[in-house]
Amino acid sequence: MSRDARLSVRKIDRDRNRFHEIVRGKIKQDLKKYVSHHELLGRKGGNIVSIPMPQIELPHFRFGPNPKGGVGQGDGNPGDPMQEGDGEGQAGEGAGQHSLEVEITLDELAKILGDELELPRIQPRGNNQLPMKGGRYTGLKPTGPESLRHFRRTYRRALLREIATGTYDPDDPVIIPIRDDKRYRARRDVMVPDFNAVIIYMMDVSGSMGKEQKDIVRTESFWIDTWLRSQYKNIETRYIVHDAAAKEVDRETFYHLRESGGTKISSAYELCARMIESQFPPEQWNIYPFHFSDGDNWSGRDTERCVKLLNDVLLQKANVFCYGQVRSAYGSGQFKKDLDRAFEDDPRVITSDIADRDGILGSIRSFLGTGR
């Protein structure tokens, strides 16, 4: 029985799948809540995140926590404290109360995000097609090893032939295939697109970007990362931080660094341009530069320089350039206005204003909604 049980679909699988569907539905419903709280990132382990989901439990009329306590067994005198966590549950009570967590893969999360925001699938540049190794046996051919013989097709052809030639006898329906009838399963090569993508995150870490602003950037980049990763097989991420000068850093530093200084955005764009030129030729790479700042640049002159850099280099090479402006107490927000003016009709530049955590979802939609 055990062997068969494993081969066939188990009964429980239907219920598990349904449970999974419901979980996905709940995540979808509360996506905004999950997106704007970055707890998820901390929970990430490998490719799976676990999400707390108490509302999936079936409600009952039942007792809340008992202020009177309960009965226990063991040593100790009246007045002695009990160990932490001992007080849950009462005698005779059924299952203890525990918070329910469900697990979901990042890919699925990306799919939910994509469905909910109605994000289009990204159109990759170029048309590299690579035959996938080890295609699938979906084709047919007239020769092959007997082990791959397609019984039904072979039988059908033999039956057709026997009927056509009049040798078929319904009272004694014996079908004998001849060599001509035989059909074999054949491998079909599958062409898969082969693309690379790089996301270059740039963040303003000048004095005016506080912890909250950085958290918003961090959360938003997590979701952008999740979505783009689901769209490309090979994805690289690079991180640049800048105040008055720019430097490339690793992921950890990117999220936790707090510098304080002036802001010269062009420094970051310059570094980004150099990085693209030296490492990511646009024929082979889909390039996504994201820049997050509070929009307070050093001077108008520097902003002009930024626009020039965008026009001359970045926009030539990148799929799309995204600028997210996080609102902060100190930033003037001038930079976004300048960009909007300079690239008024240019679909390659997308800017968005992120007022607070709740703005993250909308910002993601405007960045990724174009499918470029």
């Binding site: 239907r14 009177k68 306590g69 009965v71 226990g72």
Partner: protein, 505 residues
């Protein structure tokens, strides 16, 4: 899979011992399962043929995770059915399998002989399979989502039953025999006999009669006495479609089937543990198995400070009862003895212990078991205490070792198998067809968010506003759900308002 020859031999041997000791079991069929199969069966509550529902999948995921991380492992699973089904885990050691079998025979004897199980369906395996068919068929016909949504609603109400009602016929069937006087004589205009059929035409008197009957029905209190079996009340009076009735009916049947197990947790586990311990140590164990047995047995009976282990409490109580009745430590004379030492030492060598525990397992449930047999000496020997939250530190601490308080607290948490008492007191509240529920408060509030969600579910089924009278932070309040999508409103009841609860009625 059926048992291996080695296990089959052990089963025969152990069944023989069980008979010899006087256990009276249904035929018991053991199945040998792998861990994932056992988890699957356990997720279905022991019935591999149950109706499809997502919560079984959720349950399985948790069991599966617990098992693969090595946090939890199911040793055995036994089903109250005739024949009785029990599942063994293939990977267990031989000594564990023997222990489990002996334990299972204890459970099986309890299922068969305990009074509270007398009315449970002994062909539940088949009935569950039928329920599965019904639900699947309905899902095909009505659609998965409506059936599932309705099932979720019913399941969230499945503790609103009255396990005692299985034994009592409370509701008298309405009799057609004696129509009321008003019905007999509808208002008629005076007329001579030959004119009567013209002045009081048949249709008019019929209409009048129907009106009077309708008013009588409307005026009648519904239900006549408060009802704890909310599910049956809904079955009878809620505006349900035929398929919804079928679903509610099967949820109710299953709830009644499982209720006795919740009502006898301590006794059932205690009884099974008593017998595995007795049979293992007196008959079954080989010398090489003693250490493993002792390890696993003590693991099963381990206690933690804040939790009562039903296995431990149950087995100790049965042993204590056996000892007391063996030595004659019972009856008024013994209870009234003043000298504690003398009282403890009584030994009349009566040897009534075995008979007594067999009698106890037949007639008691957890509440009466604890109430009748926990006494001062026992509570002390078992180091029982009452704990609670210390007001100053907010931490749990030991409050008292007084055995009367221990017993009181235990009875409180065991009463109604740990569920709140909820009654339907009015099915036509304010003559508007609204449902009025009363929570008989016993010292602990309902969990508020759950109560709200459950009330919404109830409202969805009733399709009219639903009210719940309960206590929140020492104030009587009325929670009202106008419709299933609306927020719950909350109103404090003034003392002058007529209490609609049981206390008054």
């Amino acid at each position: 899979m059926s048992l291996t020859p080695e296990l089959e031999a052990a089963r025969k041997e152990i069944e023989g011992y069980a008979r010899e000791y006087g256990l009276d079991c249904f035929e018991t069929i053991f199945e040998l399962l792998d861990a994932d199969e056992l988890n699957e069966v356990a997720a279905f509550g022991g019935f591999p043929t149950r109706y499809p529902h997502w919560r079984f999948g959720m349950e399985y995921n948790q069991l599966d995770k617990g098992y693969s991380y090595g946090l939890s492992k199911i040793y055995e699973l036994v089903i109250n059915n005739d024949p009785c089904y029990a599942y063994l885990m293939r990977s267990n050691m031989m000594v564990d399998q023997k222990l489990v079998m002996a334990h299972v025979f204890g459970h099986c004897d309890f299922f068969k002989n305990n009074l509270w199980f007398a009315k449970t369906d002994r062909k539940m395996m088949d009935r569950m399979a039928n329920h599965g068919t019904v639900v699947r068929r309905l899902m095909d016909r009505v659609g998965l989502e409506p059936v599932e949504r309705f099932l979720d609603c019913c399941l969230s109400l499945d503790n609103l039953i009255d396990p005692h009602s299985m034994f009592i016929r409370r509701r008298t069937e309405p009799t057609d025999a004696e129509p009321s006087a008003a019905e007999e004589a509808p208002v008629k205009f005076r007329a001579k006999g030959y004119m009567d059929s013209f002045i009081n035409p048949r249709e008019a008197t019929d209409r009048e009669r129907a009106r009077i009957r309708k008013e009588a029905v409307q005026d009648a209190k519904l239900p006549p006495v408060p009802v704890r079996d909310v599910l049956s009340f809904l079955l009878e009076y809620a505006p349900l479609k035929r398929w919804q009735q079928e679903v509610l009916e099967l949820v109710r049947e299953e709830a009644y089937y499982f209720a006795p197990q919740a009502m006898t947790k301590i006794m059932n586990e205690g009884w099974a543990s008593y017998w595995h311990s007795t049979m293992m140590t007196q008959r079954i164990l080989r010398p090489s198995e003693v250490v493993d047995y002792a390890d696993h047995h003590s693991g099963t009976l381990a206690t933690r400070p804040g939790r009562l282990n039903p296995y431990k409490l149950g087995i100790e109580l049965f042993r204590d009862i056996e000892d007391r009745w063996n030595r004659g430590k019972f009856g008024a004379q013994w209870e009234e003895m003043d000298d504690h030492e003398q009282k403890r030492r009584v030994n009349k060598k009566l040897g009534l212990g075995r008979d007594k525990i067999f009698e106890v397992r037949r007639t008691h449930n957890d509440v009466t078991f604890v109430d009748t047999f926990i006494h001062e000496e026992f509570a002390q020997a078992q180091k029982m205490f009452v704990y609670g939250v210390d007001r100053r530190t907010g931490q749990y601490q030991i409050l008292d070792r007084d055995w009367t308080k221990v017993k009181e607290q235990m009875l409180f948490s065991l009463t109604n198998w740990g569920q709140p008492y909820i009654y339907v007191t009015d099915g036509n509240y304010e003559k508007r067809g609204e449902l009025y529920l009363f929570h008989k408060w016993g010292g602990v509030d309902l969990q508020f968010d759950f109560a709200q969600a459950t009330l919404k579910n109830l409202c969805w089924i009733w399709d009219r506003p639903v009210h719940l009278e309960t206590m929140l932070e020492n104030k009587a309040v009325l929670l009202t759900c106008k419709n299933a999508d609306a927020e719950i409103t909350q109103r404090e009841l003034t003392p002058s308002e007529e209490p609609r609860g049981i206390g008054a009625g």
